[in-house]
Symmetry: C2
Subunit: 374 residues, 2 copies
């Protein structure tokens, strides 16, 4: 294999695909990028088995020749090639593979040259990147909102693997995405075409990674199979394994009737929480006490001291209520709503409560209180 | 003690003095800020014994009242007071100490209040902040140049404590500052008044810290005593202990006669070094080979591969030479010179070599080569 290629386009593809690589992967072949030139162009693949990213660089972009003076073939190459292409400054670089195990990359002026020992290409673990028939297309904004408003609420603990996933359920014209770590829940609804119906559990961190890659795109197509989801945009395909097993039933977590309603400003509550956290006894647990006359967030620690922070602007309906919660959960939920107006809805001291944007019904956040020791 | 104080001025003083505090200090009193209000204003002190920073906030700044409604006194207070003052948004805050062990800080609108348990002020370790008679004043730029051009070459290893210091020697109208970790050396000369003469070894990292604090200042006064150095600027005094012992004699390290001279561009050498480093066998060691026809930086690793990087623009005088060096040392030395034109002067393969800015004789960098295995 050999080719001369536009350095910027090559670097873009290398950088994107290398995001899937774990350089400490015990399977040596997977610490490398697979580079394959065929009649369609140059395919660059990076994978850690759970996540695979493949980018395609065509021979021509618009009328500009991107790849020239080539001979088709494939090679597995060390990630150092990415740093090389980032560091040299020539418009093109030249890659040449002598037998299957030695690749030389050079700047087109010949000043800089690096020879890398390579692993044979047949040792690569190839992931199935064929799309399944079930496809759904979202705008970049729809996809980003789903991820930003739910993924933070998924569990980070691998003990209950299913909770590290986002649960995607499409039917009757609605895609409902749920995340829960069992102490809180985030749920987002997005309108989709009527005829689409599926359920899939996609690792939350993969969804976050795909969202990063989406920067600058307009649309994303998601294809759902039995064991994998594919995300396609631009000339990039991302594959992720699904999390096996049934997602817990979260349908009944959202309370139907609530009897304490508090409307506040996001910035003021977040600031009061940060101040209360300076003196929390148990990590992040603060007390929220409300009445029609006074709303305050306070905390106390036998070691450090105590803090009381009154909320200046609020509307409260209901009898006085005092509730303790993990303030980190509440802060994340408020930030995810992306609204300065925030509505809290409570049932009682020990019942899960709702945090909402009063102007957007598509997203709901639920947090379970913690037992207080006052 | 009590006072109402302009929040921004208070926060600035708290932030500056808290930079000296190590929150894990085993002496509990030193994890706190000492706050003392007397007839001169409010003194805020932070210390870890080796480094002490004291700021003064006066009652008035120009005609603006900064501290009002006060009663003098002193207290040791937890660093959480800094976060409190950063987070609240009122123009003033109110500090009140009830007995010596409980302090309450509040926003001036009363919405936010934090009560902190305090340590008694007589448990504080007080550092002598009286200036010694030997004083020297430098501009901010002179001081920053000294620190930025030398401190990186001081040792980070505590085994030979004296090498973690910068050696300052003033006499005959010159302040000479030297740093060496025994494998390289940086030396900077600055003109000072004729009548000043002293030798002091000041910890390099303290000099770096003082340089950070100097941001936005014009002058700094350094006072040298037997066991301490004091740095004064604005309303801030910084004290640092000196490193005891004799600094090694570095007078003869700078070679008098050199017979290989290479002039190059800093950016090109730095780039070639980064590229060669992608395939170094021993960490950071690269080969530099020079002749009147060709200058290149190369590296080789039995595991990864090899790289050759030719320098495009150079002037070389002397017989061909090949030398191996720790490229991190050379890169740091080049960057410290702050010049795009860089002059290398060599004696031979295993002799320390010089890196200079051809237009600035006040600064010199010396690097010892490493033995090559080619």
């Amino acid at each position: 294999m050999r080719f001369t290629i536009n350095r910027e386009e090559f670097l873009k593809g290398l950088t994107t695909s290398s995001r899937a690589i774990n350089s400490k992967n015990p399977i040596a072949a997977l610490t490398n990028l697979k580079i394959e030139l065929n009649e369609n162009g140059l395919f660059i693949t990076g994978s850690n088995r759970d996540l695979t990213i493949r980018t395609l660089i065509p021979y021509f972009l618009d009328d500009k020749e991107i790849i020239r003076n080539y001979q088709i073939g494939s090679v597995l190459v060390n990630l150092k090639i990415v740093d090389f292409c980032r560091e040299v400054k020539t418009e093109e670089v030249v890659l040449e593979v002598n037998d299957e195990t030695i690749a030389t990359i050079a700047s087109s002026n010949g000043n800089n040259e690096m020879t890398l020992q390579c692993i044979k290409v047949d040792e690569y673990y190839d992931v199935d990147l064929e799309p399944d028939s079930l496809e759904i297309t979202l705008t970049k904004n729809e996809f980003s909102n789903i991820v930003n408003q739910t993924a933070f609420a998924a569990s980070l603990k691998e003990q209950r693997l299913i909770l590290t996933a986002l649960n995607l359920e499409a039917n009757e014209g609605k895609l409902t995405v749920t995340a829960t770590d069992s102490a809180r829940m985030a749920r987002k609804e997005t309108l989709v075409p009527d005829n689409i119906s599926f359920v899939a559990n996609i690792p939350a961190k993969m969804m976050v990674e795909v969202d990063h890659l989406l920067e600058g795109q307009e649309y994303i197509t998601i294809s759902i199979g039995d064991k994998k989801a594919l995300f396609s945009f631009d000339k990039i395909v991302v594959a992720t394994t699904l999390v096996a097993g049934d997602y817990p039933n979260t349908k009944n977590i959202v309370p139907k009737v609530t009897n304490h309603h508090l409307m506040v400003k996001a910035s003021e509550v977040l600031s009061a929480i940060r101040l209360a956290n300076l003196v929390t006894e148990r990590e992040n647990v603060v007390d929220f006490s409300m009445s029609p006359e006074n709303v305050q967030i306070s905390a106390k620690s036998s070691q450090t001291g105590s803090g009381v922070n009154k909320i200046g602007a609020f509307q409260y309906e209901g009898s006085p209520l005092r509730i303790s919660f993990n303030s980190e959960f509440v802060s994340q939920a408020i930030k995810a709503l992306g609204s300065e107006d925030i509505l809290f809805e409570f049932i009682g001291e020990m019942k899960p409560f709702v945090i909402k944007n009063p102007n957007d019904d598509s997203i709901i956040q639920i947090v379970t209180p913690v037992r207080a020791y006052y």
